[in-house]
Subunit: 194 residues, 2 copies
């Protein structure tokens, strides 16, 4: 029953996932998190308080985050992971990407991967990239098949837009291949030194 509850609770948005990851690095306040989203060129999340504070409350209600109300100085609620939150976070990080993840939830995958190095043994990131690359290349082939059949009915800009989609998956696949090579080299290389 507990395992089942865990599984159901797995459904979290990409924003919640990013919040979990950032809080897992260090205790942070809602304002800290807003600033990170606002001043970091990445993670296409908005710094809107109307998204972040409710998301933090949801995660707290789930029992994954707890808020330390800091006493000294300014009023500040520092969030940190609970044991259950840490478990859920690691379990989510550890899942291998599925085909649907690669096609529809790329943001989430990249968040998971970005935090993976800090939280999981290096072999997991390698496995992650292998699955990622496999699904991405498979999707490229699907898209090419569709294109071969339908390109004739498309306008020139339609074809170009479609090609751009294909190339973007291809570029991700190639990134995954090269990233995996780098991780594997990093794991072996430094130890062999001297």
């Amino acid at each position: 029953v507990a395992a089942c509850a865990d599984a159901v609770d797995f459904i979290v948005s990409a924003l919640e996932l990013a919040l979990l990851g950032l809080v897992s690095q260090a205790p942070r306040s809602g304002y800290d998190l807003r600033r990170i989203f606002a001043h970091t060129p990445f993670s296409h999340f908005s710094d809107s308080p109307g998204a972040i504070y409710p998301a933090l409350r949801r995660l707290a209600r789930k029992g994954w985050l707890m808020a330390d109300s800091a006493q000294g100085g300014r009023r500040r609620r520092l969030f940190r992971l609970t044991a259950a939150g840490s478990r859920a976070w690691h379990a989510r990080l550890g899942r291998e990407p599925t085909r649907d993840d690669v096609i529809w939830r790329l943001d989430e995958l990249m968040i998971r991967f970005a935090f993976m190095g800090e939280a999981l043994p290096p072999g997991r990131a390698v496995r992650f990239l292998a699955a990622f690359e496999r699904h991405a290349r498979a999707h490229v082939e699907e898209l090419r098949g569709y294109y071969a059949q339908h390109a004739a009915n498309m306008s020139e800009t339609g074809r170009l837009a479609f090609e751009s989609g294909i190339e973007s998956y291809l570029s991700r696949a190639e990134w995954a291949e090269h990233a995996r090579a780098r991780l594997e080299a990093g794991a072996r290389g430094p130890q062999r030194k001297s």
Copy 2:
């Protein structure tokens, strides 16, 4: 005042934009549109009726779409563009991509571009791509600058994830460059034949 109302009404979601584009090609029913989203490997829209039918109603309420209730056979409501809808659609297609479009609304840009060839003179697509490439390359430089300053504080997978983001913008920029060349060659080439 009328111009102002037009400008305000410009705010449409990517889904609504895709619907406008598809309806501009040919009169289509809600079911047709759902099927296109369901059976096309592209355009990351869901075929959920709860999204499409309300969106069509919104566009109809705005006066951009009208529904012909087809008489013969099955009950079918075929939507087509009104004159105002066609004007709004062309105006939206014609806008040059901004920096924020490239960073945060890439889906929308690709939809606009895909339909651009059917609706606008070829020069517009070339201008679109030039602006797109310029903003994408500028963003790549911004990201590289950030990376140079912050890579030291990132984990290895964090760095790799960041690089993947940079490469994805770079790949889009290169696509735009090559697509523009192809459009320009296509515009000149065939006419010079013989």
